[in-house]
């Protein structure tokens, strides 16, 4: 009997030893799946690699990055991306916070309004861009008609470099303000009522309560909303590409649109990958700063509690 029983513990031992590895295998595969394209992009970004010049492919170290430094179009891309990100996130934050404050009370009407305000967020950004493209058409667009009523009869919206940024920022605000609004509304409604009740009993002015009580308590939610929107905004593609393909001129040439054109139109793999790596560095830096800030705020909040 003992001869037959011996192999069983050995098998159990093998399975038991392998089990942690087997269980972690899916996450390992996901990590590999994420890392492979990233590493490939990093390698391509160090090459002179244009598909239309197969014989010219060569390792050039940081050549692509160095050429960016002296390329005015790269600095234009940096500038446009920063302006777009700052404008969209800043305005969306202010609007989202204002709307959330207005809808703070849990009433039936407020709940209905908050659901209705969520509708733009459910529209695909590319479709929203097409809708706005029609609404801003100088021939028949309802918005063109509306601005003509206040004397702006020749307003060219996305067709004019001076107003193109305003137009795409408006579309972004229309689509994404509800995202910030709903996040901040959830935050506001989760705040403990005691400090607000005490302030009311003491007759503290509303402005003081907002700046000294509401905002500090809401700051982790604000930081979270800002983080998500910043990362999304700096990587903007669909709204701008659908409306203007980065034009007029280079007025809306953000990172993703630039990288897309470099690959799909110019077949320049090396330069496209280098642009995306620069974008990754910016995104990583921003995320890191925000996550650190978020941890600090959370610790402070827990400390106060």
């Amino acid at each position: 009997m003992s001869d037959f029983a011996l192999p069983v513990p050995a098998k159990r031992w093998r399975v038991g030893r392998l089990l942690p590895y087997l269980l972690s295998l899916p996450s390992l595969l996901v990590c590999v799946g994420i890392v492979i394209p990233f590493v490939a992009s990093a390698i391509y970004s160090l090459q002179r690699y244009n598909l239309a010049f197969p014989t010219g492919r060569a390792f050039i170290g940081f050549g692509n990055y160095i050429s960016f430094l002296s390329d005015p179009s790269f600095w234009n891309t940096v500038e446009v991306s920063i302006i777009y990100t700052a404008a969209t996130v800043g305005i969306e934050l202010l609007l989202g916070l204002a709307i959330a404050m207005l809808l703070r009370e849990r009433t039936f009407i407020n709940n209905v309004i908050s659901v209705v305000l969520m509708l733009p967020l459910m529209t695909a950004p590319a479709l929203a861009s097409l809708m706005w493209k029609l609404m801003t058409n100088p021939g028949f667009g309802v918005l063109s008609w509306a601005v003509s009523l206040i004397g702006l009869s020749n307003f060219k919206w996305a067709s004019d470099p001076h107003t193109a940024m305003l137009t795409v920022v408006l579309v972004d605000i229309w689509v994404y303000t509800p995202f910030i609004m709903i996040l901040l509304l959830a935050g506001l409604r989760s705040l403990p009522p005691a400090p607000f009740e005490a302030a009311q009993l003491d007759g503290v002015p509303g402005r003081f309560v907002f700046f000294r009580v509401t905002l500090p308590m809401l700051s982790p939610f604000i930081v979270t909303a800002c983080l998500f929107r910043l990362l999304d905004s700096i990587q903007q593609f669909d709204i701008i590409y659908a409306m203007t393909q980065g034009g007029p001129g280079d007025s809306l040439m953000v990172f993703q649109v630039g990288a897309y054109l470099e690959f799909f139109q110019y077949t320049n793999v090396g330069r496209s990958a280098a642009l995306l790596m620069v974008l990754w560095v910016i995104t990583y830096f921003l995320s890191d700063r925000f996550v650190r800030q978020w941890h600090k705020l959370r610790e402070r909040r827990q400390g106060h509690a």
Binding site: T136, N154, A158, D160, M243, G246, P248
Partner: protein
């Protein structure tokens, strides 16, 4: 089909009787025109099959990548004839032009065997060919075992054959020494004026003869027509803005895109001729173009003409043709006229766009796909598209000479043929072939947008553009 009708069709296919004679005798047999046409088409198919083993790849399926275009619609409508001739099947994916070439690039750059053949323009082959993504069609054209004896490649218009043929050496002429046939011409377009006759009659103006005249008349339309603007041209930040009327006029003013010396290219967009032309073109858009010109593609230019929102367009002749058809508000009101933009030029110098068929180097069924391309660019299919569908700028001389086609166009689209005949002699690709075509033309379109928006003066903008292009050429080692 009676024996007599069959014999008549055979005689017509063999060229023993004229078309008029055939028509007379088949009518005498009591067969109507439509039925006679069907019988004749079937006879052509049988004749093709008799002279060449079209059934060699029977049972094979060929997969195509197509752009949504009336030329593609004409081909799809005739696919049953191909299936009957070869016993092969054809499957296809079809995409609108906005995303079409991105799909092609994605499929070819990933070396996918998903598509065997696809629609392309000549400019794209300047990228795809050197990248090793295309098969050199000379391999097939010069192989009597693979190409039907009656295919007659020489029947295709010479400038079109040359346009799809290039050695891959930047700056080397199209169709020159060592050129590879990267694609086969299938249907094309050239650039002239299509105008709204009602608006011109209402304002008592005649079609423009040159660019200064065009600007004057377009400005009058914008001011006096009560709504429509003067002239529609493309303006999006894309290569497609540069190649139609813009490059045709640019060439007519004696300007060139590059100078080539010792195998190196140098941008010529800052030349005096270029600056003179750009000044006029920018003025034309500012004074008489669409308000949102910077977003205009082929679709918006055409739609405005068809809807009566513009007085004229300087774009593809076939776009004016399509907008004159049923379903458009201005159907039947569109006129056509050739234009030599430079008042001192001898005649028009139209650039051309050629829809061509190319064979993927990654296809697993290259020979079968060549059979498809051979059929789709054959006289028989070209004739079918021209006579019965909207393949109205066919690539074959024999089809242009066809009386049925000519009568059909002359009857329903007056002025179209005359405009074509006046524009065609000097119509060809006027770009210098080089693999950075899309970089250069997209930068060019962006510069044009800045000039029209008055962000930069024309002369200064062109100097900056030349510097940008020259830097890109140097980085690529060709400038």
């Amino acid at each position: 089909m009676s024996d007599k009708a069959r014999d008549l069709c055979k005689a017509r296919v063999a060229g023993r009787i004229s078309r008029r004679e055939f028509g007379k005798r088949i009518t005498a047999l009591g067969i109507g025109a439509a039925a006679a046409d069907g019988l004749l088409q079937a006879s052509y198919t049988r004749a093709m099959a008799a002279s060449f083993d079209w059934m060699k790849y029977k049972g094979t399926t060929v997969k195509l990548l197509l752009n949504k275009h009336p030329y593609a619609d004409a081909m799809i409508a005739d696919l049953d004839a191909f299936r009957a001739l070869t016993g092969m099947d054809v499957k296809y994916d079809i995409f609108p032009e906005d995303v079409y070439f991105d799909k092609v690039t994605a499929a070819l750059s990933s070396r996918s065997s998903q598509y065997d053949a696809f629609m392309t323009g000549a400019y794209q082959t300047w990228q795809y060919g050197p990248a090793g993504w295309l098969v050199d069609m000379n391999e097939y054209l010069h192989d009597a075992g693979k190409t039907a004896p009656d295919y007659d490649f020489e029947d295709m218009l010479p400038n079109l054959r040359a346009s799809d043929s290039w050695s891959g050496v930047p700056g080397a002429p199209l169709g020159g020494t060592g050129a590879k046939q990267w694609a086969i011409p299938w249907g094309f377009e050239l650039y002239s004026i299509s105008y709204n006759r009602n608006i011109f009659d209402q304002l008592k103006i005649t079609p423009p003869e040159n660019l200064p005249d065009l600007i004057e008349k377009a400005t009058k339309i914008t001011k006096d027509a009560g709504g429509p603007y003067g002239v529609g041209v493309r303006g999006s930040r894309s290569w497609a803005t540069i190649h139609p009327g813009f490059l045709s006029g640019y060439t007519n003013y004696g300007a060139r895109d590059f100078t080539v010396a010792d195998g190196k290219l140098k941008s010529a967009v800052d030349s005096a001729e270029s600056k003179a032309f750009h000044e006029l073109w920018v003025k034309m858009i500012q004074e008489a173009g669409p308000k949102n010109w910077a977003t205009y593609t082929w679709y918006q230019v055409g739609q405005d003409l068809g809807a009566g929102a513009s007085g004229m367009i300087y774009d593809a002749d076939i776009l004016g043709y399509f907008m004159n058809g049923a379903g458009n508000k201005e159907a039947g009101h569109i006129g056509y006229t050739p234009i030599a933009p430079n008042p001192e030029a001898k005649g028009p110098t139209s650039n051309i766009w050629i829809w061509s068929l190319a064979l993927s180097n990654f296809s697993n069924a290259k020979d079968a796909a060549w059979y498809f391309i051979q059929w789709a660019t054959s006289k028989q299919h070209d004739m079918f598209g021209a006579r019965k569908k909207d393949l109205v700028d066919p690539v074959r001389a024999s089809v242009w000479a066809d009386k049925v086609f000519q009568d059909r166009i002359a009857g329903s689209y007056p002025g179209y043929l005359e405009t074509y005949k006046a524009t065609a002699p000097d119509a060809k690709i006027y770009f210098t072939p080089q693999p950075l075509f899309f970089n250069v033309t997209t930068e060019w379109a962006a510069a044009l947008q800045r000039m029209v928006a008055k962000e930069v003066a024309v002369s200064e903008g062109l100097d900056q553009l030349a510097a940008t292009i020259n830097r890109e050429l140097r980085d690529a080692g060709i400038g």
